[in-house]
């Protein structure tokens, strides 16, 4: 007896309808068996979230989403959803955040509002919010996304139109540790997500390291120098997509394009993870 795979899109504020449009376009490409369908639902309450096997946190204003989530009694359920403690181990459920969603899924973030903001966590990274600046610095760029094709065909993959709106970036990949990122908490004006580690000291055997899925090369020299002067930690190119176990984040907005390739790829991941879970 199998049931539908239910994918929720957090619908508190932002571009959630745009994700539904691409999910509907992508889903016919990933068959999940007879008598079994993809089901896409808006998530505004803990009851909505309870039904979900996977979740998308869309673009929007991350400050708004975290405040509304807290006032709608959804913040803790979201944390429990992404980092589920089960049988003394921590399981990260399939979750994808775009732009504001990436900020909320980070274990650490800076340049937030005065007084900081609540994070959900799930990705051991530090995100620099609005890294690229204000709206006049928003831009589009052709992205090479290796994960969209087999490893030997990287050169053949059609570039993806990356849309960056007041976009964040992964400033630093953090060590995978149990509990909250305490060393990050010590940094000025940086907020961290609360711990969801199982009590009793069991190893988190399912925790994986953070994989960098895409970078944006070619920032102008001036811009990079400005960032260095501001104390940012420069990496080779800017990290704009990361994955850690089941949790995926992009600083750009695939939902603002008509290109469903990333949604197809992600639904395949959701299918694989769900079936793996069902077998155990």
């Amino acid at each position: 007896m199998t049931r539908n795979i239910v994918v929720g899109v957090l619908a508190l504020q932002g571009a959630f309808n745009e994700h539904f449009k691409l999910l509907r376009k992508a889903s016919p490409e990933i068959a999940i068996g007879q008598d079994r369908n993809w089901e896409f639902v808006e998530v505004r309450t803990a009851q909505n979230l309870d039904r979900c096997d996977a979740l998308i946190i869309p673009g929007g204003e991350s400050t708004t989403v975290s405040l509304v989530a807290a006032r709608s009694n959804l913040l803790e359920p979201l944390r429990d959803f992404v980092k589920q403690v089960q049988n003394f181990s921590l399981r990260r459920r399939p979750t994808w955040g775009t732009c504001a969603g990436l900020i909320l899924l980070a274990e650490s973030a800076n340049r937030t509002k005065q007084g900081g903001q609540e994070l959900i966590g799930g990705l051991d990274v530090r995100v620099n919010r609005n890294y690229f600046g204000r709206q006049t610095e928003s831009f589009e760029a052709e992205l090479a996304l290796p994960f969209l094709g087999p490893k030997d065909s990287i050169g053949d993959i059609k570039p993806f139109n990356g849309i960056f709106i007041r976009a964040p970036v992964v400033e630093k990949v953090l060590p995978v540790i149990r509990g909250e990122q305490a060393s990050e908490r010590a940094i000025d004006e940086t907020v961290v997500a609360p711990s969801r580690s199982p009590e009793g000291g069991m190893m988190e055997h399912v925790l994986r390291p953070v994989e960098v899925m895409a970078t944006l090369p070619g920032r102008s020299r001036t811009f990079r120098d400005n960032v260095a002067a501001m104390g940012g930690e420069d990496e080779v190119g800017d990290i704009i997509a990361v994955k850690q176990g089941n949790v995926f984040g992009t600083s750009f907005h695939p939902e603002l394009t008509e290109d469903a390739r990333i949604h197809v790829w992600w639904l395949q991941q959701v299918k694989d993870m769900t079936q793996r879970q069902e077998r155990t």
Partner: protein
């Protein structure tokens, strides 16, 4: 979305005497090399995707009028998805009379420094130099607004040439499509600002919806006739008819004063809500602001609406739009 047949780059714009974006220094000083390499496969005017994109990020949110940094902080803590900087809220503009203009840049800068959410600011209709100034200040959106005293009684600003996106008001579909044609990346129904009376916002939202519904299912010939009637560009009218909605994000504005007003506008089909005088002219601004934010998220859930509407203290006193003389209405400004 196809708006212009040929995209016009800001530097080559010679089409009109009233466009004139700011000198290139503000346009290029922070641009990255990736912008220059952006794909040119789209028929959209330059940057329209990111202009429309930011508007989509506002959806399901509340944008609040603020006149100083402390109000902006209250709005941010309440969960506003953006703030609108202006010198006086519409209720005070009504009470004070006189010419209402763009805010002093020091106020805009102060507000931008106080919050990390997007900051919008108002310019007078047709006042392209106020728009150049706001772009140079780095605001995230410009509202070419009937709430301020119009600077031009025939023309609106040519908005495609600016890098900063624009939102404009409308009373019906024709006005909305004219503004989009000029380059607005976001529309708001006008309502009647500074009154606390939602009746005009409802009228304008219903008018837009009814006119789009009428256009749906029309043949091209019929649409050409209807475009003349509405004084709207045929291409955009056809697009709205096919989409069954405006081709850009559409917020409600002008008279929203309670969580129930905000949810009413959402149920009538708008994408989000502007609240002007309704918040800072009420008894408990912080509480009311947060309640309106919750109401816009949970707009279909009467139990939540009942809870957030409870004990908000005094709403703004309000003016009955029916008693306003025609000359006192702001919505009629715009051509």
């Amino acid at each position: 979305m196809a708006i212009n047949d040929s995209p016009v780059a800001p530097s080559t714009s010679t089409s009109s005497s009233n466009s004139a974006p700011t000198p290139t220094s503000t346009l290029t000083s922070t641009s990255t090399s990736t912008q220059a390499n952006a794909p040119s496969t789209t028929t959209n005017p330059p940057n329209f995707t990111v202009k429309d994109g930011l508007a989509k990020m506002f959806k399901g949110g509340v944008i609040m009028d603020v006149v100083n940094a402390s109000q902006a902080r209250i709005a941010e803590e309440a969960g506003a998805c953006a703030v609108m900087a202006l010198e006086r809220v519409p209720a005070d503009i009504r009470a004070d009379g006189g010419v209402a203009r763009m805010s002093d840049p020091s106020l805009v800068r102060e507000i931008m420094a106080a919050v990390t959410i997007p900051v919008m600011a108002k310019a007078r209709i047709g006042h392209f130099v106020e728009c150049q100034i706001l772009q140079a200040l780095g605001v995230d959106y410009i509202d070419e607004s009937e709430v301020l005293t119009p600077a031009d009684d025939a023309f609106h600003v040519e908005k495609h040439a600016f890098r900063t996106p624009f939102v404009c008001g409308c009373r019906g579909l024709g006005e909305a499509l004219r503004r989009i044609d000029e380059g607005a990346a976001m529309i708001r129904t006008k309502g009647e600002a500074g009154t606390g009376d939602v009746v005009e916002a409802v009228r304008h939202m219903r008018t837009v919806t009814a006119e789009i519904n009428r256009a749906r299912g029309m043949s091209d010939v019929e649409l050409r006739g209807y475009a003349k009637e509405l004084n709207a560009p045929f291409r955009l009218l056809k697009e709205a008819a096919e989409l069954g909605r405006l081709p850009v994000v559409n917020f409600a504005a002008g008279g929203v004063a309670t969580p129930a007003d905000a949810a009413l506008m959402m149920q009538l089909g708008c994408d989000g809500v502007f609240v002007g005088s309704g918040i800072f002219k009420s008894g408990d601004a912080a509480k009311r602001a947060a309640a309106i934010v919750q109401a816009v998220t949970h707009f279909r859930d009467p139990a939540v609406l009942a809870e957030v509407s409870t004990g908000l203290g005094e709403a703004m006193v309000g003016l009955n739009v029916g008693r306003l003389a025609e000359g006192e209405k702001m919505a009629g400004r715009g051509w």
